[in-house]
Amino acid sequence: MGLKKYVATRVATLFGVLMVTLLLTVALVGSNMDVILKQGVAVQVRHEVAEIPGLADSFESVEAFEKYVQDTIDRRITELGLHEPWYSPQRIGLSMYKILLLDFGHATFLTSDSGSSNVGDIIAEKLPKTVLLFTTATIIISIIGILMGALSGSKVGSVLDRITSSFAVISSSFPVWWVGMLLIILFAFTWQIFPARATPPIPADDPGYIGALLYHMALPLITIVLIGFGAWAYLVRNFMVGILQDDFIFAKKTMGIPKKHIVYRHALKNAAPPIVTILALSLSGSLGGAIITEAVFDWPGMGRLYFEAITVLDMPVIIGATYVLTAFFLASIFVADILYGYFDPRVRTGP
């Protein structure tokens, strides 16, 4: 009963957040976007009018011709629904409804690599790239982190423990993208092992594309793992230190069970709930990618798409990408909440 109510409140709150996010995005980008769209319509109409031979000569005066052009522009704007301000309830309501049904419309400027301007297509093309890089990185980070954390947690105060702890603290204050730039200097300039730009130069339908993509992925992957695993190891270490002080571990020790066995079987099993929670959080969080990291390596994923869309103010892409990023972000919060609630008996049993 407690868990059900808990889940229901969380779902309601997160859905509310999703709506607020969309509304804020539409509000922030909307006014700028309208100006751009109207200018675009005007340019297009003038272009079309100039294409029709003899049209300009058929008018008696320049004023009459101008009036005709202006009327055509106004009519086109009304047809597109742009005559109403962006904050009118119909327009916001309509766009929110469409977005909820995952109909993001067509991009204004950007296209996918295959040439489609459908926002859904563009996102569908970028999302797998982000999953490939960031989800792989998250998995590697968690494996290294759990092993190192368990090892140093079982030997508190040892050299390994000190190195892990200080590495965690120090690596947390380095910006990931800056470390990326350093690795580009080292591996792409000084030693020339990996390419600096992470986008393969060959077309996507080439048979060697997958291999090239993986090769280009190496440097960003190394960067993310290098900066990420310290925090993981530190977290797991702290859980382990807490659990290894518990009575049942002393009991196992006195029973003569080998230390390795205790650490990796019993202690790690008890530390599992929070670790699984965090793993879920970072796995689903990794789907959003990282805007700045993708910018450094020019990785063709969601983060870079988002940044490109914002710099040219491509409203449909911004809204579509914000929706997808926010949805993943909220899903990760939700999964973490639920797992936390499930593992925490106070929430599970309820009053």
Partner: protein, 453 residues
């Protein structure tokens, strides 16, 4: 749970990590003070103005790298300390500006520029010559200044690529054993006469102005273009990186501290108010808190920077919007505990107003926790601002570390191996973050009851 500020400081002093953080922070504050006091404000305002950096070399490595290299890279020299002589004989006044340089590098300079302002009447003659270490005298240039009947000032830049200089130097070809045809002016002037290699030693550049009484050269500057410069080198836009790095320090501290103090104060008051009032107020304030907490911060900051303003002060406000949420949650739960204590209930019975109780009795109890939160929030604020600047969304009129890195990325510094443009700004960001992480962790270990053993 109850701490006075003195207790906090006494315990803090015994923490090695905390003290290390204080030392780093102290150094950064010292750097900021020195920067603000010693470096003229014009360099800061003129950071993005290319005209201020004309005399500086393009993408030069730091000067000290020569200590570690087998071959000495020519250092960039900006000489404005010429020795001036005037002499007058037979109605002709000679005005001489003499520059002496000691050349000791294993490569030729990239060129030279001579800039001067002459005050004269009539049509004086300007000559330029160099006395080399092997005592040969090379005439570089000889040219009349534009004639004028009245008192006039003439400002000009003479570049080493000037064809007249090349032609003048070719006249000296018999003084060189190797052919100097097709070589650039600077690699003839600084070349050994037997073999085409740099000749080290003392070079004396003399600029003579033969004119009438009262003619003079003002603001005479000789720039020998090198590939190494200063303590931190220069970037592709010829800017002295040491200036940017130094100015970045007070900016980063300002951004970090203002955002951290602002958001912690706001979060503290919000959370305590929610916790103290309870019931419906608490419920609605916390729902609002949940909404802000779940907003994706970076995408929103980017949209706000693009659509509203990228002024540094507006950005600080935006960063605060996303900074206060976590603190509000924790201070609410702490306020819930404190409000049940006897003295709070006593104050309520004495009829003290809610505001008075919150500010006199509850918030002082949370101050140690607030200090720790401020220290922990600073690095995030600094890295987020740096990240936004790195994406090109920062305030272009301020030389922040993130903005330096943005320029570096724009000019492909990483792939071109220009480490001096990338390593120092990032190190400064990391170091500043580290100082506050150390202080924050040390404070947290003292005030957080769960971490106390």
């Amino acid at each position: 749970m109850s701490f006075t500020t003195q207790d906090l400081w006494r315990e803090f002093r015994s923490s090695h990590m905390g003290m290390a953080g204080i030392i780093i922070l102290g150094t950064l504050i010292l750097i900021s003070c020195v920067t603000v006091l010693a470096i003229p404000l014009e360099t800061f305002q003129g950071w993005s103005n290319p005209n201020n950096w004309l005399y500086y070399p393009k993408a030069a490595v730091p000067g000290w790298t020569n200590l570690f290299l087998p071959e000495a890279i020519p250092e960039h020299m900006i000489l404005d300390d010429s020795v001036t002589y005037t002499d007058s004989a037979g109605g002709i006044t000679l005005h001489s500006d003499i520059f002496t340089i000691n050349y000791k590098y294993d490569d030729f300079p990239g060129g030279f520029i001579y800039e001067y302002t002459a005050e004269y009447t009539g049509a004086p003659l300007l000559t330029m010559s160099v006395l080399r270490p092997d005592d040969t005298l090379l005439n570089i240039l000889s040219m009349p200044l534009p004639p004028s009947d009245s008192e006039t000032t003439h400002t000009e830049k003479i570049f080493s690529t000037d064809l007249a200089i090349y032609k003048n130097l070719l006249l000296h070809s018999n003084e060189f054993d190797h052919t100097i045809d097709g070589l650039s002016a600077e690699s003839i002037i600084f070349s050994d006469s037997t073999i085409h290699e740099p000749l080290d030693g003392r070079y004396v550049f003399t600029v003579n102005l033969y004119g009438s009484q009262g003619d003079a050269i003002q603001d005479s500057i000789l720039v020998i273009d090198g590939k190494a410069f200063g303590i931190m080198g220069t970037d592709e836009l010829r800017r002295d990186l040491v200036v940017g790095l130094l100015w970045g320090t007070p900016l980063a501290l300002f951004i970090g501290l203002v955002v951290a103090i602002g958001s912690v104060t706001a979060g503290l008051i919000y959370g305590v108010y929610a916790g103290y009032k309870g019931k419906l107020t608490d419920e609605s304030l916390m729902r609002f808190n949940d909404v802000i907490y779940a907003l994706p911060a970076l995408p929103f900051l980017i949209i706000l920077a693009v659509t509203i303003s990228n002024s540094i002060f507006v950005m600080i406000g935006f960063l605060m919007i996303f900074g206060w949420v976590g603190i509000a949650k924790v201070s609410r739960s702490m306020a819930l505990q404190i409000k049940t204590r006897g003295y709070v209930e006593a104050a309520q019975m004495m009829g003290q107003s809610n505001t008075a109780i919150i500010f006199r009795h509850i918030i002082p109890q949370l101050l140690p926790y607030a200090f720790a939160s401020i220290a922990i929030s600073v690095p995030a604020a600094i890295t987020t601002e740096a990240g936004l600047s790195f994406l090109g969304l920062g305030d272009p009129s301020f030389p922040t570390w993130g903005h330096i890195l943005y320029d570096a990325n724009t000019y492909g510094a990483a792939a071109r191996g220009m480490w001096w443009w990338i390593v120092p700004p990032g190190m400064m960001i990391a170091l500043t973050g580290l100082a506050f992480v150390f202080i924050g962790n040390a404070l947290d270990a003292i005030v957080n009851p769960r971490l106390r053993r």
